[in-house]
């Protein structure tokens, strides 16, 4: 980091990770919890702001990068994953985090998700799932439960919701976890594990929208929580077990649901570059010779 030698780099406190910009979120929004948890994780893992970048799409949740002190990019709706992948591949030293909402990730952006899972690029994707479109003021989201009334489902939704965890496990993401915006400690633990995981990590944060779904969500979710770390039987490396978890309806399991070791994209890329070196073992200018007829 050439130009950075001159910069002073004392250890930072969690609060130092706030950018200072006042969040536009409604008072009580779950996303405040996520922001606070991230500050703590950054501090715990000693991520340098200059070496960290947060990408997001569009939505209330996607405002996150603005509130963190690090590089950030609040991009467009649904494209956070390819953008994050591009950055990580081009600059593998960076700490890359992607964040967004349920609509951003599982409606418009869902096409990138299976491909991100299979590529296993080393970054963390945090989805603040509130089962609603917050920023656009209360429309149906792909994770809205069946029969939910919203401004676009005035007689109750007739769609079966997307189950993000099922999708992630089904698409062989190598780290899949769920946590809750009402439990900072749990969030911090899970996020720290996700960020430390080598490969793609997906974290669903249940983050209530107090305005368009309701404050009571905090209580409803809290009452159904089942902490996987308290379950000695649970083995996050067992994919079948993970599939059982995603089908639960009476309780909500949180913690690391699935975890698998696999070379990440960059490892594979390095091997490929070695193999390819035979094609380019000369100055780029000399490559012109391949066009000799």
């Amino acid at each position: 980091m050439e130009a950075m030698q001159q910069a002073v780099t004392p250890p930072l406190k969690a609060t130092d990770y706030k950018s200072g910009l006042k969040p536009v979120w409604c008072p009580g929004c779950g996303d405040f919890g996520v922001l606070n948890a991230m500050c703590q994780v950054f501090q715990q893992l000693e991520l340098r702001p200059e070496e960290t970048i947060i990408f997001s799409g569009i939505g209330c949740s996607s405002r996150l990068p603005g509130y963190l002190k690090s590089y950030g990019f609040n991009s467009v709706h649904g494209r956070v994953l390819p953008i994050a992948i591009g950055a990580k591949l081009a600059n593998p030293e960076l700490n890359v985090i992607a964040a967004g909402g349920d609509g951003d990730g599982f409606s418009i952006g869902i096409g990138h998700f299976p491909h991100t899972c299979r590529r296993n690029v080393d970054f963390t994707y945090i989805v603040m799932d509130n089962n609603i479109y917050g920023l656009t003021k209360g429309q149906l989201s792909p994770t809205s439960p069946a029969e939910m009334n919203t401004t676009t489902s005035n007689f109750g939704s007739i769609e079966t919701p997307i189950n993000p965890i099922a999708l992630a496990v089904g698409c062989e993401a190598t780290f899949v976890a769920r946590t809750f915006a009402g439990d900072i400690k749990h969030m911090v633990n899970v996020m720290a594990l996700g960020i430390q995981h080598k490969g793609f990590s997906f974290i669903q944060v249940l983050s209530p929208c107090v305005t368009f779904v309701g404050k009571e969500q905090f209580v409803i979710i809290k009452n159904k929580l089942h902490y996987l770390q308290d379950d000695p039987e649970y083995d996050p490396s067992d994919r079948a077990a993970a599939f059982r978890v995603v089908d639960e309806t009476d309780r909500i399991s949180v913690g690391v649901i699935y975890h698998k070791h696999k070379p990440d994209y960059h490892d594979n890329l390095e091997i490929l570059r070695q193999a390819a070196a035979v094609k380019g073992d000369r100055k780029i200018e000399d490559l012109v010779e391949i066009f000799r007829p």
């Binding site: 980091m1 130009a3 910069a7 992948i85 591009g86 950055a87 990580k88 073992d281 490559l287 000799r292």
Partner: protein, 583 residues
Amino acid sequence: MEGDELNLGLVGSGGDGVMIAGESIVSAAAREGLKCLMLKSFGPQIRGGESSCKIRISSKKVSAAPDTLDVLLAFNWNDYKRFGSELELKPEGVVVEEGDSESPEPERPIIGPQPATIYKLPLTRLAKETAGTPLARNMVALGAVSELFGLPDKEMKHSIKKMFSHKSAQIIEGNLKAYQSGKDYVLANFSKPEKLQLRIEKNLEKRLVMTGNDACAYAALLAGCRFFAGYPITPSSEIMEWLSVYMPAYGGTMIQTEDEIAALGMVLGASLAGAKAMTATSGPGMSLMTELLGLASIAEIPCVVVNAQRGGPSTGIPTKSEQSDLMQAVFGGHGDSPRVVIAPADVGDCFPVMREAFFISEKYQIPVIVLSDAFIAQCKASLHKPDLSKIRPWERARPHGIPVEDYKRFEYTPTGVSWMAIPGKDPYIYRAAGIEHDEKGNPTSEFAEHEKMNEKRYRKLKFIAEDACFMRYYGPKEAKVGIVTWGSCKGPVREAVEILNTQGLPVRAIVPQVLFPLNTDKMRAFFAGLEHLLVVELSYSKQFLNLLKTQLDLPAGTAHYGRSGAKPFAVSEIIEQIRKIAG
């Protein structure tokens, strides 16, 4: 055959080896130092269907594919039907076909003048006799063509060897024998057509052979591009295919994405993270990139997007060329979203154009669209080795020497360009956004900030029009008839200009490469003194004319000649149009 050039057409079915024969000729010619150019054409069949190619060879200059042919090599007259209108003979043109003196006269559905001479050879028999397989018919034919029209024999053999270098020695031997049998048959049975002998000058320098796609890919690598993300699409796929081989060796990344949206998304992420990054596509992919191009525009992220245009709209005609993505390139974004549009005019032109694309994009932090087209992208041409030392990576202006807190990523500056920090390399953290923002990058919805930022983003265009303008000029300065055209239309226009000037009608032409922002001063200077102006393009809806009108006032009475693509302009077609307006 106009003096010292030879125009050949080859047509046949999948098994006939039309393309191998054609490429052998091109390689041989290039090794001999000749100028040449080959355009391929395929029927709808995915594999094994009809195909044809047209080759033009000359020791002087080659601008366009041949309008009409000196020589037509027809492996199969049925296949000819599909391509008839593309494979017209000159009045003095000749035909080479399968047959011998005893075989019945085939039906020849020839369009235009009938052949002056027909050379019949027992291609299949000779192939079987020499190589042991009818598949070597194309080699017999190559031998015949080589002998008949004076192609460089040594280089032809070299080409054949190289073409089959991955095959066994026996196969190579068989093919060479087949080739020789074609030559021998000609020597024994025909006299060479005197007027159709390729004149080869001594000591010409060997030339390279590549397509426009090859050139774009290689030039990108030279310009410092180390990240490519793309999705396959005709006629641009060869760019990513080439980079898939050569990019990783230089520590770069070439990744095939799930779609074009992801492709440009990754490019923007990579660029923000400091890499010179690009993607390549064609119309349908370009359409899908519309939203993210706007993001690049507002967030001021450098990126290069090559669009090898094909016939549109929608899926249109994937295998043919057209110039109908121009207005989209310039005006396709929602909101006021400036970008730069630049177009190569031939294969060799891809080098300076790609250099310029990366230069503009990195220097001005703006998306640059390179509008190539199928006639350039997939045209195989011989060319002089370009001056590669001119293609050097340009480094972005990064912040330095100011306190970290004072850094404004989107600072309002006289050129509109602000310092761009690289995450992980610079301590100057900032936040970018697709949302309108202030100089620091914080979201705003205020009119005043918005106006200021629009002004900043558009201001760059003024400087780019000066800084990066380049144009080609043809014909004498004092000509009173002028032509404006762009992209691959340069070929036939240039040739038409040259012919008319020798015929005593002075005409000049201008071919701007930077189409937006256009350097209007240079355009107006060109218009000065003209009595007639003709705008030429390959688009039904007059896109180039429309684009010109939005950027400058055209002289009163400006004429326009345009039509749909799927068929390149014939030189004669352009000449006719010029004669029409010049009276």
